[in-house]
Point group: D2
Chain length 265, copies 4
């Protein structure tokens, strides 16, 4: 399906503030960006680089006053998310080198603490996709999804203790559970068509049978319409913006995802 | 200045043909892409990756029939190219690791054969920027620039023997001369505002005083208006398209660079 | 000074166990490995790769029975650690891209929680090296260094609450404090000559004035004799060994660091 | 089999000379280094880095006077080289991104000029391994292998015109022929047990059926005993040493490869 995604952010800057933005979706295996806008007002010098996860990041210093970021992308993405019940676990020794770091604990995914819990949740499941699927179902049924309830990422341990969280938080717990079973897992930040209420979204991917599969415990079933902006070990690696110095919050934030016709692109 | 660049290519494909395209300019230190379109007709699956030079490359298989590629970018780029007469040579031992490969000979820059010639051309010059500047001037005065005269890249040795060439060929000779003096040099492919006749363009950069500087022997003086698409050791690394299987040539190729107002972006 | 370092590990393996080892010190700016041994008994197939921090990692599956790892390196390393009182803070916008990830919170360094505390500890200090130095002194005077007290890494928050820890734990707190001040900081694991009691060691580095500087709150003053094995954001990234499946602990572990004469190498 | 390889180089340096050495074999899929020595006399500061092909490179400035390099490695390597008649060609669109650059022409492998010749040599062969095998056989029967005949690399075109060359030269022609058929191919420099006369050696690898396979037209049949030091597109990328400034040649060069017992390591 063709989607038009947009994200607008406006800040009131009181001291010149270094930012690292991650707002340029990359064309990749799953999606193709046919049209893109990325505007800054006022127009300041920007340096773009690729981080160690392959994300495109934009560095700049926001000047005093109103600073706004306006991005639009027309993207073709899959109508349906690939699912693969029965897809097998990959033995550690057979994982590609580049996937290994997604087995380690990270800031918000204290995977070393979830071994027993993950074993119990996935009890009786075939190793691999079905284990992750059982984790997703368990999250969906157990952890209350409360969109918009928090701005600060919380870790898997905290999510598990609160028994509720935003999309990112549920993903953190899902990732920690996967990694504790030696299944590589990573966080994805991006857009989802028809998300209610509309906002930036986060979900997770697990590596089984030689590739990454999408999981999302916030949705009752896995439909298509995902547009990825960034990948990382957890929310510490994939912030839509990182800002340094005294904290600054967006005065305005507007996210939209519309279905479009190919002809409109 | 704000520029709108476009490149359209149309092929008549008679057997399904794998392509690697390099047609997405990257936002970087020197330029910022505020608006971009990248359309393929028909719309086939594309996989984008970053090559070892940091270029964004697009892989696809062109299907039978008419296949067209349409790209547009609105870019802000410098009004003037930085120049730095007197900027010093960087001793090999002080070069960053990532720059070292630009000292080696490559497919179209047989730098190991130009040591004497480069020494003679740069005789009396201060080591560094001024040597490269002398090479650029020598190329401008010696090698006839014949735009459109050739489609196949030729190497520094061949350019020197023919005493003429297209922009890419002059750059190859410039690069080989620089490297023979232990100055890292690389090829850049992209657009140039006001280029006569308008086409895709190629120029070269040399690394002195801790950064890359732009040189272009095809222009009588260095103005601004450059938009880089790709960087590499020579034309073997930076082809706007690489195609595999029986050779296919564009039926149509249209390149444009317009000056625009910021408001039009 | 020339040092001979050795680390021997012996495991009793009851199910075939995938390991990722990080036991090969790299030759680099600070140290040169003139002689090295790396033996596995029994001798199993090993695959070596470079992780995203530049560490050499060795992957293998340990077979049933006694499995031992024996490593020796003869290394030249600095007699004194570079110190640079007054070396300035690097503005975020001037940091190299590759250093940016060392500003983010990580598994054991919850830097987003230490902003006030770091400001208070470094109050009155010149921005940069002196701030890190004040953090190091504060750690030395405040957090009890209890070598050998723990095998499991603990995070900066936990270290701060316990007010004691092993070398790795003190480093985690030091790193979190630095990052909260926007100073990039990383963990180093390796050897230290004359460490009491002898064991593998951990310390931290902070990036000021354009390079990494060494800090170690476990030593009363900074002498030379450091040999680095691995670098990372924290202990999650730099484990001497990561092991998957049911936990396995070394039956024997022996670490030695001897001063040698150049002639003995 | 266990091998002890050694390479000693001695230079008489008359002006301080920057060197980039590539003399540290890496442990990898095919070989494991259990013991290694790398000594420089006099002992100068060395900086080691990993190049874009994954090779470990050592940078240094050789001081005035006699400068010698002494390296030894005890390596376990396969008794036999894997062979796979019938292993299929990989379609361009299915090649991993990292392999694509080995399809392009490079300094000494002008692959774009060998299309017809390669088609004729491999006529009637199954696509993939058998094509490369036919190229290897053709090289063995057609191009005279003259070890020690040349110190300067020559390109595929020159080798084909001379109809003779050293190991590196034959490999260049083999690589160019493979690439012209869209089979990725790369040069390997290293040691070979029982090579006659003993010296550093070069061979080539081709990518078919999802992995790299070894080919060597200088040997009448493919035995084991290969120890790789470096990989690259051709000899421009994989020089055992690159030296800058006025040319310097080794006064002495001694290469040895001995079969050893595991117990001797």
């Amino acid at each position: 399906m063709w989607l038009r995604t947009s994200c607008d952010l406006t800040f009131d800057i009181t001291v010149p503030t270094p930012f690292i933005l991650m707002l340029r979706p990359r064309s990749g295996a799953q999606q193709w960006i046919a049209h893109e806008e990325y505007k800054l007002t006022p127009n300041v010098p920007v340096f773009e680089f690729t981080d160690s996860y392959g994300n495109l990041c934009q560095r700049l210093v926001a000047p005093l006053g109103i600073f706004s970021i306006h991005t639009i992308a027309d993207v073709i993405t899959a109508d349906n998310v690939d699912q693969a019940p029965g897809a097998p676990f990959v033995e550690i020794q057979n994982l590609p080198d580049t996937v290994l770091s997604y087995l380690l604990p990270s800031r918000y995914c204290e995977s070393e603490k979830f071994s027993e819990m993950a074993t119990s949740i996935t009890s009786g499941q075939q190793l691999g996709y079905n284990q992750v699927s059982a984790i997703e179902t368990w999250l969906r049924n157990t952890i209350r999804y409360e969109p918009g309830s928090s701005d600060v990422p919380i870790s898997a341990v905290e999510v598990n203790s609160r028994q509720s969280g935003v999309c990112r938080d549920l993903s953190h717990l899902g990732i920690a559970l996967c990694r504790s079973l030696s299944i590589p897992a990573r966080l994805v930040v991006g857009y989802l068509y028809d998300l209610e209420p509309m906002d930036l979204h986060a979900w997770f991917e697990a590596y089984v049978a030689g590739r990454w599969y999408t999981f999302d415990a916030t949705q009752s079933d896995l439909k298509g319409g995902y547009v990825a902006i960034g990948y990382g070990r957890d929310a510490a690696d994939v912030a839509v913006y990182n800002q340094f110095g005294p904290p600054v919050y967006p005065m305005e934030k507007n996210v939209e995802v519309q279905l479009i016709e190919k002809e409109e692109v």
